[in-house]
Amino acid sequence: MAMGKTSYRIFFLSLFLVTGTALSFEILLMRLFSLVHGHHFASMIVSLALLGLGTAGVVLQIFQNRLLPHRDRLYPAVAFLFGLSIVGSFVLAQAIPFNPREMTWSALPWLALSAHYLIYAFPFFFSGMFVALAMSDPRFSTGRLYRADLLGSAAGAACLLMVLFRVPAHRCLAPLGFLALTAAVLATRALPSRAPAWLCAGIVSIGAAFWLLPASLLHPGLSQYKDLAVLRLIPGTETVMEKTTPAAYLELVRVPGSPLRRAPGLAADCAHEPPPQLGVFTDGNLYGTLPLPETAEHPFAYLSCLPVSAVFEQTQRSKVLIKDVFASPELLLGAREHGAVDITGTTMVVALPEALRKALDEPAMGFYFGAPVRYARGMARVVVARTEERYDVIGFWLRGSTGQPVGATSITEQFDLTVEGLRALISHLSDKGVLAVSMWRRHPPYETLKFLATLQAAMHGGAAERVVILGTPSTLTVMAGKSPWAVPEKRRLQQFAASRMFDFVTASPGAPIPSALGEDVRRIFGPDAESFRSNYKFHIQPATDDRPFFHRFFTWRSAGELLDKRTRGGAALVQWDYLARVAALGFAALFGAALLILPVALRRTGTDELPPKRRSILYFGALGLGFLFVELTFIHLFTLFLGHPLLSAGTVVASFLGWAGVGSGRGHRYDLSRVLLVIVIILTLFAAGLGRLLDVLLCLPLPVRTAVAALLCGPPAFFMGMPFPKAMTGLRGTHPKGIPWAWGINGFASVVSPLLAVLLAMHIGFTAVLLLAALCYLTAWWQRPESVGSDISGR
C-alpha cells in the first residue's frame, strides 16, 4: 500500500530514533561498564552489539517468507521490544551478580560475564531487526534509509556525550527506553496498518513509566568491593562534592573519624604522621587524595619522609609538571614547599580541578589553587606537545596494574607510558631536569622492569648513567636525569636514602649491587637486555604507541607455571584481565556460532542453490574481520588523539557508520574489484603513516582534532561500506538462498573480530592489525563474487 509524504517522513523519523537510540545505548553501555566494573570493555560491547545486529539479519533472512508479509506490524513491535529490552537488559544483568575479583577462585563470574554478554545483545537484535526490515522494504529508497540511519547514529552519539555532562549514566536508560517506544508509536502512525490511539497511548505510558521505576532498579549500585563502598561503612563518612561527567562520576569524600592517610613509601622511622586527606573518587574508585594542612607552621611535615622529596631537596627546581596530579599530591606539595615558581598539574578528569576548587575549604584552597599552581587538562604528552616550556621536574605516580579482570589500570591503552610518550616528556625537561616516577614495589619487580625498559628505549641508550632508584619496603622511585648524574649529586641522593633507610639502586657499571632488584636493573640496562627481557617470566618488553598496553604482563610461556601457583600465593601473579579477554573471545565465538552459523547450517537447502562454501566463507568472513579490525584500531589509536576512550569510541563508531553508509549508497558507481584494491592501498598507507600523522596533529585544539578524526575515518570507511552490499546484491541475483549464509558468516566474523583485534594488537601491534585488515580485503578481492558467479555458471 502506498504511503503519503507525511507518513513517509514520520517513518524516517522513527528509523532515525531507533538507530540513534541504538548507538547511544552502545556508548552508554561502555560508560556503565566503566562505572560498575571499572573498565569500558569497548571491544566486547562492539562485539555484542554486532551479535545482536547480525542475528537479526540472519533471522530475517531465514524467516523472510513468514516475517515479511507482516512487516508493517513488525516495525512497531520490534521498536517496542527494543525499548523494553534497553531497560530490561540492564535490570536483568544487574540481577546476575558479577564479581570479577572472584574470577581467580570461582567459575561463577565467568558464567556471569557470558550471561551479561548475551543479555546486552538483545536490544541490538531488536534495533537490528527494525533496520533490516526497512532495508528490505521496497517502499523506501535505500539511499534515504542509509541517510536516516547514519544521521540517527551520529546524532545519538553526539547527544549522549553532551547529556552525560549533566546526567548520570544510569539515568539515561529510562529516556533511551522512552525514545525507542516513541519510535514504535511513530512507526505505527506512519504505516497503513496504523494501531489504534489507545494502543499508542499505552505504549507512551509504558515509556513514561520507565521514569517511575524504583531508583534502585536502574541504579548500577556500587560494588561492595569498591573503595568508596567500603569507606562508607565507616560512621561519619560524608560526600563533600559530587559531579557527573561523560568520563567519570566524581566524588570528594571526607572521613572525620578515621581519616584517609595515603603516604606510599613513608619512611618506617618517620616522626610525622601523614595529615588527614580528602578522598577523590572516580566511579567509586580511589583516584587520589588531597592532604589537608594540620598546623600553620608545618602543614605537611611528613613530606620529608617520602622518597619523592629527594627530587626537590637536592637542587632548586623552579618549573614542575605533574602528570595526573591528584594521584600524586605529594609531588605538588613537595614542589610548593621547596619554592617551585611554576607548577603545572595535568589531569585526565577534565572537570576535576574546577569541581575541587568550589568544594575545598579556605585553608586547603591556597595549597592547591592560585599561583604558582595551574592545571592543564588531558594526557601529559598532549599537554607538552602544545608548549615550548622546559621543566626542571616532570613527575607522576605510576598507577599500578590491579591484575584483576577489571579496574582503572587493567589492560587498557596508556599512551603516556609508551616509548613515544616518555620521549615526549623527557624532551621537555630542562638540561638539569629530572623525570621522577614512583610506583609500588613488587616481587618480582616486573612492573618496574617494564617501565625501565620503556624508559631505556625512550632515552635512546645511555640510561644507565642517568637513572637512580630509591626503594622503600612498599615503593620504588625512579629518577631519570636529562643528563647523567654528577658524582656529588649521586652522593647526596645516596645520603638522603641512607638517612631514611631507603635502598639506593643505580645501574651504573661498577657500582655495588645491593639487592636482587639491583641485579635486575643492571641487566635491563646491560648489553644482554634483549635476551633478559625475552626470557623473563612476565612481558616486560617496552610499550610503544603501536602496542600501548603497558599493563600487559601476561605471557603464554609462564601462564602454566603461574596457574599452578594459584593456590600457593601465586594467584596475584596471574593476569586474569588478559584471560578474561580470551574468555570473552570464546563467548563471542560460541554465541556467534550458535546464533549466526548454526541456524543457517541447519536449513535444508540444496547444494546447487548455494554459492561455493569456501569462497563465500572467505569473502564474507574476510569482510567481517577486516572492517572491525580497522574500526577497533581506529578507536584505540584515536584514544591518544582525542584524549579519552569514550570520546574516541563515539567519534569513530559514528563516523564509520556515517562514511560507510555514504559509501554503500554510492557503491553502484564503482567497480567492486577496484574498490577492494583501493581499500587495500588505503589501509597499507594508513598502517605506514597514521601514527606519525596523529603525532604531528596532536598540538591542535580538541574540537579540531575531533573533526580531523571524523575526516580520517572517511577514506577507509567510505570504500569499506561498498563490498558487502554489492556482493549481497550480486547474490540476490544468482543465489538468493545463499544470502542467509552470507549474513551468518559476515556476522560471525564481525562478532569475534573486535575482541580478536585487541588481543592481536597486544602481541603484534595495531599497525600489524591494520595490515591484517588489508590482507583480509585482499582475500576478499581474490574471492570476490564475480568468481563465485563464474564458478556457478561453469557448473
Binding site: 613513608l266 587524595t289 591484575g403 612498599s474 603464554w556 596457574l563 601465586g570
Partner: protein
C-alpha cells in the same frame, strides 16, 4: 603443528580443566567438616612444600598447623558458603571484605614466630578467623576492626566459640592500641600504602610485624618487619598477595 601451538593448546586445555574445577561442588551428606578440614591441612602442607623458594622452609611450625586443624573455619564464613569453607581459597564475608585463603593465614601466623606467653595485635578482624587461630598459640590476642557491623559480629562469634583470650574491638587499627602496647607481634590483615608508624612504635624490641603493603585491590607485597633489641627495624618481602584495603585508605 608447531611446538608453540601445542603448548598453547595444552594451556587452553588446562585452563578449561581449571575452569571446571572452579565450579563449586557442595559437600556430600557424608562429608563431614572434620574430613574437609583434614583435607585442607594436607593441601596447606603440600602448598608449603611447593613454595619453599618463597618462604625459605618446607614445613610450617607444627603448632600453627595444629591451630589450623582445630579452628572450625566453617563457623567463620557465611552460612551459604559453609560447604566450601575448607577449600584453599578466600571467601567473601560481606561488606566488601574476605576471609583469607587458609594457606595465607597459616603462613602469616607462622611468620609471626609467636610463643605461648606473647601478646599479639591483629588489625583487620574480619570474621575473626585469624584471631581464633592465634588464640591457640599465644597468651592474649587483641583484634581491631574498623567496620562496625563486622566488628560486632566477630566479637559475638569469638565469644560464642569460647575464644576467651581474644579481645575484639571496633576502631581504626592504624593507631594500634597505645594503652595495651607494646606487642610481641602485630599482624595486619588488610592492605596499607605504608607501614603505619604508630604500629612500628607499638612493636616490642625483638618483635615481628606482618603486613601487606600496596594499593587497594591490587597485588600487594606481604612484608615481614622485624625490630631488633636496639629498636632498629628491618623489612623483607615474603610474597605477593591480594588483600582488601585497610579501611580508611591508609
Amino acid at each position: 603443528m608447531k611446538k608453540g601451538t601445542h603448548h598453547r593448546l595444552y594451556l587452553l586445555l588446562r585452563i578449561g580443566l581449571l575452569a571446571w574445577s572452579l565450579v563449586p561442588m557442595p559437600a556430600s551428606a557424608g562429608d563431614s567438616y572434620a574430613r574437609q578440614q583434614e583435607a585442607m591441612i594436607r593441601e596447606i602442607r603440600k602448598d608449603v612444600e611447593r613454595t619453599v623458594d618463597y618462604i625459605g622452609k618446607d614445613r610450617l611450625d607444627p603448632r600453627v598447623m595444629e591451630a589450623m586443624a582445630d579452628v572450625p573455619r566453617h563457623r567463620f564464613v557465611p552460612e551459604r558458603l559453609r560447604s566450601i569453607a575448607y577449600e584453599n581459597r578466600p571467601l567473601p564475608i560481606g561488606h566488601g571484605q574476605t576471609i583469607s585463603q587458609p594457606y595465607i593465614v597459616a603462613l602469616m601466623t607462622d611468620l609471626l614466630h609467636t610463643k605461648p606467653g606473647d601478646v599479639v595485635l591483629e588489625v583487620g578482624t574480619g570474621s575473626g578467623y585469624q584471631a581464633a587461630v592465634l588464640s591457640a598459640l599465644v597468651e592474649r590476642v587483641y583484634t581491631m576492626e574498623i567496620i562496625p557491623p563486622l566488628a560486632e559480629s566477630a566479637e559475638k562469634r569469638l565469644r560464642a566459640l569460647g575464644y576467651d583470650n581474644v579481645t575484639a574491638l571496633q576502631g581504626d587499627g592504624y593507631y594500634g592500641l597505645e594503652a595495651i602496647a607494646p606487642f610481641d607481634a602485630i599482624v595486619v590483615t588488610a592492605a596499607a600504602t605504608h607501614i603505619p608508624p604508630p604500629l612500628i612504635r607499638q612493636l616490642k624490641p625483638g618483635g615481628v610485624m606482618i603486613i601487606p603493603v600496596g594499593g587497594p585491590f591490587m597485588t600487594q607485597e606481604l612484608i615481614r618487619l622485624t625490630k631488633n633489641e636496639e629498636g632498629q627495624t628491618r623489612s623483607e618481602h615474603i610474597l605477593p598477595v591480594v588483600f582488601v584495603p585497610l579501611t580508611g585508605g591508609h
